[in-house]
Amino acid sequence: MRTALVGARIDLAAIVAEVTSPDNGALSLFMGTVRNVNDERSVDGIEYNAYAPMAEREMAQIAREAGDRFGTEHVVIEHRTGFLALGEASVAIAVGHPRRANAMDATRWIVEQLKQRVPIWKLEHYTDGTREWVQHGRGTSSTSSAAAGAVIPESDRASAGVRDA
């Protein structure tokens, strides 16, 4: 089990080797890659910015939770930071498991948790020269925030009300 924020290109072969074991019958992988279009705007690349110590803590926590929930020690999560060109992998998740359904379920659970809990932000660079911080769900900040709050474990949840805001 290993998680990391990385500054250089994700080495998929190394990650696959890490979760490969004769105990496993299945290996599931997911990679997020930089797409040339988002919300109908033409994208040049994305700058990934993380609150590094907290992002690392959350990623490690997600890997541990996935291991407990789906029953495997063979979990690797890597997330890149810095500027990524089109087609480059921003995140890689690998899960080895004796059973294929569990491997795939764990992978999907991890990617959803990661998108909801890990403090990483992306600044999209558009081909017209503009840049914008991506807001998932395209809702207002307050909607996005509430949605995130709803999935963070009760013991670990923020809800700092600003009554006069």
């Binding site: 911080w133 600003v162 006069d164």
Partner: protein, 81 residues
Amino acid sequence: MITLDVLLFASYADAAGARSVRVSVPDGARVSDVVRAVHTAAPSIALPARPLVAVNHRYALADTAVAASDEVALIPPVAGG
């Protein structure tokens, strides 16, 4: 009073024009007090009604107590992956 440099990221940091904002809150202050103080000190940040806040790298509750030694951060809606 305790003084804190509250960490800012992404759109919050851009709006404030800084990576952190210094606020003073009374001894015994809670996360909600810190958020109010940031709102006053840096009104240009478009904070949602209930912004996510981390204390020492963990998501914190509104009534979590804050000490001078804590690392406090305002967490904009995350967008990793």
